[in-house]
Amino acid sequence: MDVVFYSPTNGSSEERLQRVIESVTPAWEGTVCRTIEDLSERLLQPKNDLAIALLLAEKREDIEGLLPVSNLFRNTRIILIAPDRNKETIAAAHRLRPRLLTYSDSDFADVFTVLAKIIADHHNPNGMGGR
């Protein structure tokens, strides 16, 4: 399972999230997509199977910037970290149809458990890997 990490700005949330990804998927190659172009290129690579995209938005514009390329997220499960709880931010976030919407001030325990569950179910033949 591919884990794609998009983080336009290097900050403390990014480091914490990287630790979460590494703890759930030790084989993660550690690449962080910094721009929409990097992310698009990564998503356009053929996937072996299901992919998960962790999208860390530092501001609402980061989420809005992802909307034009939302087609590329087909067959990809999105975990979105929104920068704030403003109505407009949340409305933009839901347009990406994330499997989990959380916020950058969280402890990311929710990201850890959701990521771990998706991966475990995917590897378990009796798990709910499908949609």
Partner: protein, 472 residues
């Protein structure tokens, strides 16, 4: 005035129903064989077809898909034998509007016909499927058109919708299409992935929580139900909800109000609910793993999506759509598709449905950089090898396994596996048994069911599998 086609080999039945049809003010057309009926429905505008099952030139049920594809897409009423519950069920599953037991009273025929015509009239008044925003739903097979008609109907109201279908059939796209064609389109479409959320997280994600509600709740959190206010809440894989959350959610559905975890006051949320599942929720109810009252509420309006293998005619359009999309995304010219490539795609059973097809196309596209045409070699190896194996197995497993293949040199590459021998023997025995059964019962399906102990639907399915006609 509507046009009603009666397909029955019995001239008395045709005459009787024609009389009723004319009395209702409609025009009756008759056909005494399936072939004649199919020709008439293909060349004339027909609103309703009354179709007999037992026809001299075949089984009426097998003609249903073909009749539904006719230019006027008529409604179909099946004429079944008296007390034939299996035949009736099979008729409905095959896409018939309704069924009538023979003999039926004049009143029953009139009522069923009138209802079918009313339905047809209302369907015509509904926004046609082509006029709705499809949200990437590709295909124009009768099954897809039916589903899109249901999307249009669901979008007009606020009723709870349950979308079922195998993994990869596009349940979320259909849910999104309902939302985007509804009055709620300008508000949020909020996804709750019940399969991705661990049990300990679902409740807090759905209902939200107050600060200090539990150990890690260091700030208040709004739940997804609240965020769906004014819009649509999409519960994906709803069969995964735990019993306690099912109970809590049932109350939310009834009252459209809820209390966040640790909260003192109830919050209202005006959301429209769409749920989806790839599991048999009725079976989960029987196993007491899903609440019957919740299922009843979820299923106010139901849409069942067909697997891709049941709408193979959509594959060409799906392939062209996604290849064009991939070309645009990669900044390349659209690629041509060789006939062999298309043939292979049409022969593969697609257990993962459209999602698997899209995966395969992505890989094929990536495997042919700079090449103008896609060939089978560009497809993923697992698909090509499975088809090759199936093809070889078909050739290698004759109806009767030759004696020399039951023994001989076990190291020979042509020596069959035990599984192949078993399968071949079973096919042979089943085919011969069914031939004997039909001959012995002189094609009387009811008698054949009694003799064989098979249900009518199972018997029809086996007869179809082996290409055996009931006409003796």
């Amino acid at each position: 005035m509507a046009h009603i086609l009666i397909i029955d080999d019995d001239p008395i039945v045709c005459e009787t129903i024609s009389h009723i049809v004319k009395h209702l003010g409609h025009e009756a057309i008759t056909a005494h064989s399936l072939q004649e009926g199919i020709e008439k429905v293909s060349s004339e505008a027909v609103d309703v077809v009354l179709l007999d099952v037992q026809m001299p030139d075949g089984n009426g049920l097998e003609a249903v898909p073909g009749i539904r594809k006719a230019p006027s897409s008529p409604e179909i009423i099946i004429l079944t034998g008296y007390g034939d519950a299996d035949g009736a069920e099979l008729a409905i599953k095959n896409g018939a509007w309704d069924y009538l037991e023979k003999p039926s009273s004049r009143q029953q025929i009139s009522l069923t016909l009138t209802r079918a015509l009313q339905y047809r009239q209302q369907k015509g008044a509904i926004k046609p499927a082509e006029a709705i925003k499809r949200e990437g739903i590709v295909g124009n097979s009768p099954q897809m058109r039916d589903c899109l008609d249901l999307v249009a109907q669901a979008a007009k109201g606020d009723a709870n919708v349950l979308i079922t279908g195998e993994t990869g059939t596009g349940k979320e796209l259909f849910a999104l299409a309902i939302h985007n064609n509804s009055r709620r389109a300008n508000s949020s479409f909020v996804v709750v992935d019940c399969a991705a959320l661990p049990k300990n997280l679902v409740e807090s994600v759905l209902f939200g929580h107050e600060k200090g509600a539990f150990t890690s709740a260091d700030r208040a959190q709004e739940g997804l139900i609240r965020q769906a206010d004014g819009g649509t809440l999409f519960l994906d894989e709803v069969g995964e909800l735990s019993p306690s959350v099912q109970k809590s959610f049932l109350r939310v559905l009834q009252e459209r109000r809820f209390r966040p975890i640790g909260g003192k006051e109830e919050i209202k949320s005006d959301f429209r609910l769409i749920a989806a599942s790839n599991r048999d929720l009725d079976e989960l109810v029987r196993r007491q793993q899903f609440r019957e009252d919740l299922l009843f509420r979820l299923r106010t309006f139901a849409i069942e999506l067909p697997p891709l293998r049941e709408r193979l005619e959509d594959i060409k359009e799906l392939v062209r759509h996604y290849i064009a999309q991939l070309a645009e995304e990669h900044g390349q010219q659209a690629k041509d598709l060789s006939p062999e490539f298309m043939d292979l795609l049409a022969r593969y059973p697609w257990p993962g449905n459209v999602r698997e097809l899209v995966h395969a196309l992505e890989r094929a596209f990536a495997a042919a950089p700079g090449e103008p045409t896609l060939y089978p070699k560009h497809l993923p190896t697992n698909i090509r090898t499975q088809l090759a194996r199936t093809s070889i197995r078909k050739k290698a497993a004759p109806a009767v396994v030759p004696a020399e293949r039951r023994g001989g040199d076990p190291t020979s590459p042509t020596f069959a596996t035990l599984q192949e021998v078993r399968e071949a023997a079973l096919v042979d025995v089943e085919r011969q048994y069914l031939k004997d059964l039909i001959e012995r019962t002189e094609g009387d399906i009811q008698q054949a069911c009694l003799t064989s102990g098979l249900s009518r639907s199972r018997l029809y399915s086996l007869l179809k599998k082996y290409g055996i006609s009931t006409a003796t």
